[in-house]
Amino acid sequence: MAYQFVSIDPVTRVEGEVRAVIVIDDKGEVKDAYYQTLEIRGFEAFCKGRAVEELPRITSAVCGVCSWAHHVASGKTLDVLFGREPPPTAKKLREIAYFMQIIDSHLLHFIVMALPDFALPNAPPELRNIAGLLREDPKVATLFLKSRSIIKDIEEVFGGKPIHTAFVLPGGISRRFTKEDIEKIDKLTKELYNIVDYIVDYFNKKILKSEIFQKYLYDDAYMLRTYYMGIVGESDTLNFYDGELKIIDSSGREVARFDAMEYTKYIAEHMTNWAYSKFPYLKWLGWKGFNEEYLVRVGPLARLNVIDRIPSERAQEEYEHMVDVFGDKPIHNTMAYHWARIIETLHSIERMRDMIQETDLLSNDILNLEGEPRYEGVGVIEAPRGVLIHHYKANEELLATHVNIITPTTLNNAAINTELKKVAKKILSKKVINDDTLNKLEMSIRAYDPCNSCATHYMDLNGRKLFTVLIVDSNGHILNKIGYKSQEVVIGCPK
């Protein structure tokens, strides 16, 4: 049988080098879909042999968009490995800094990556971006641009560098905070609160109720009935920084609850030769392929599915409203990831605003040097995109002997692949392929917010998209070109 390979290369608005390849049979039916990560740097290999205390500043480079998530997760891993509980002030400051990471990443994704699809559905592709937003809705776009400098300034107070920061140490943080530091963060947080407030209101009034968002929200193709995993704080409240891991099944029943150190009993990974990224799965179920009912998802929607309550006033109200709208949990609608991201952004700024008022932030007690090393540590955190696991083992010299890092985009890898196939079947089978259909494929991927939204931000300022569509026959002759300008997707035939 002859197959056609429709390749979106690169998939835009995602982290690193990613390609989506859809295999179409000679009847025009979608046979398979692959979301392929093409990049490998080998952190787990070259982190071996490193002095463990250096790992927070090494592993932060796994991702420049959520570098704080890796930096803090690495620090938490070292707390355990060195047997050092950080003093309350250090823990609080880590947590406040970490709320900043959530807001940073969530806003960047919502405005730059997600919003153009919903706010400008009828705009020509070259204007379906932040530049188009500046034209159509200058207030929301301008406020977003303003938020970038506020966020950068706050991150600099915490970590020196806003990206690949120098902040955590095993058992605490690197320096004491001054009154001026706290006052500066407080002032900037208040400014940021007003921007978030506007964006939440904008989402509720203009996006949530829009016909297009509603259409995708309830579209069966953009829906997976899966397991969900997330960290839960005390009494199953939303907590990004600390807590137990909880897994629920697709009916909402709790099927596992465990401490980070036990994660290997519950999570295992599958590896293939067609992607450099692995495919984590629930260990007791075994690897069952890209089969919806065995998959687990993480991230904003998964978090809101596993928790019972959000410990901040306004975000809790929004959360209750969301659950009311769907009538029940878990919510399986992938587009609700966007909604969940907005609610989490509101929660984060509410908590930042309150926590920065706490009285003990100026304490000199920011680093605990006591403790008995146990030479192994696991640190789990809710990164903006979901559960992030760091696991190190060390020898007597405290050199790393084993490093395992499971990122949220990896945890969602199987789900992204499965949904891509589902959407491809619906929109590509026996259909004409054009920019619009391909963008619908990408919308499914974008809902999961794989990292690197920044790339698109820059491009969009210039009003360009990143790929072209070519239809190529088996001899490599170009039969047709779809799209415009620099847009490129290669549709080839097998040899």
Binding site: F5, D9, P10, G16, V18, I40, F46, G49, A51, E54, R57, I58, A61, C63, G64, V65, F82, S149, E156, G160, P162, I163, H164, T165, A166, F167, L169, G171, S174, R176, T264, A268, E269, H270, M271, T272, N273, W274, A275, Y276, K278, K283, G286, L367, L398, L399, H402, N404, N452, C454, A455, Y458, M459, L461, N462, R464, T468, L470, E488, K495
Partner: protein, 327 residues
Amino acid sequence: MRVMGKLKLAIVYGAICGGCDVSLVNIGEKLANVLEKYDIVYWGAAIDGKADMLERLDKIDVAIYMGTVRTESNLKYAKLIRDKADLVVAYGACAVYGGIPGLGALMEPEEIMKIVSSTVTTESKEEIDLPEELKLPKILPTCTSLVEVLDPDVMAPGCPPGSISNDGLLKVLIDYAAGKKPEGKVIFGEEQSLCYECPRKPKDLNKIVMPGIYRLHEIRIDESKCFLEQGILCMGPATRAACEMPCIKNNMPCIGCMGPAPGVDDVGLKHLSAIASVLLVDKEKELLEKGLAKHLDKIVDPLGLFYKYTLPRSYLTKLSIKRKRRG
């Protein structure tokens, strides 16, 4: 729509983390001045298909490369931009020196894959026959910086580049648009080491005494005193001053992301000699009795400490590659 008279700017990736992108985006409004003069014709990671688009362009005016060169695909793009672009910018520690992923420079692809596929949670493996369309780009025998592959005109160091590099880059881009191409090779930053700018500078830079060597987790670091004088290894003496010392201000020692200071070929060798000359120099008796080596034993991971961002360009890597070539 390409506006007449605008220049073509392409931004191409090697193996990246995305931090360089965010750093560029954080430039904010000033970026608009660049966009007035330039048309961004390409941005984004590229494998096979994507090369077609760049290949079709006769000429690119400026190409910015981010990331380490780790796979065949990274290499292909590096070469492509050298062929097409009039001005090539290596942006970020990975492109200039190899960066953090450069720590894998001494590892063969098989070794990397062996370790990556044997982590505690990797329990299921599958290899299928793949059609060409689905094959992954091959991992190179070593990991290199862009500088090792081609000869960039402009180098913006930093992980990621900070405002000194970014301001420098904006100026180069605006000047170039005005017809002023930089003369010779440009690297942003000062022509001296970080120590000369450090606020913790001891009274006499030539009289630093290290009281021994301590690891980061072993002591409470004084927030105002020179790190070396506290026994903490700081890369300042061997590192180019091209940042505003964010790490040092945050009470963390420099780890060298701006690359070697001017005149320093190999950061590790330079740093070792610097340490040897300041370590316990006031306690000669102790040194004679215990020996310098005993103290240097505290440097448990010299490779990760001295070459955190520069391993692909070290003598060590060059020697290892030579040896492999000889078989």
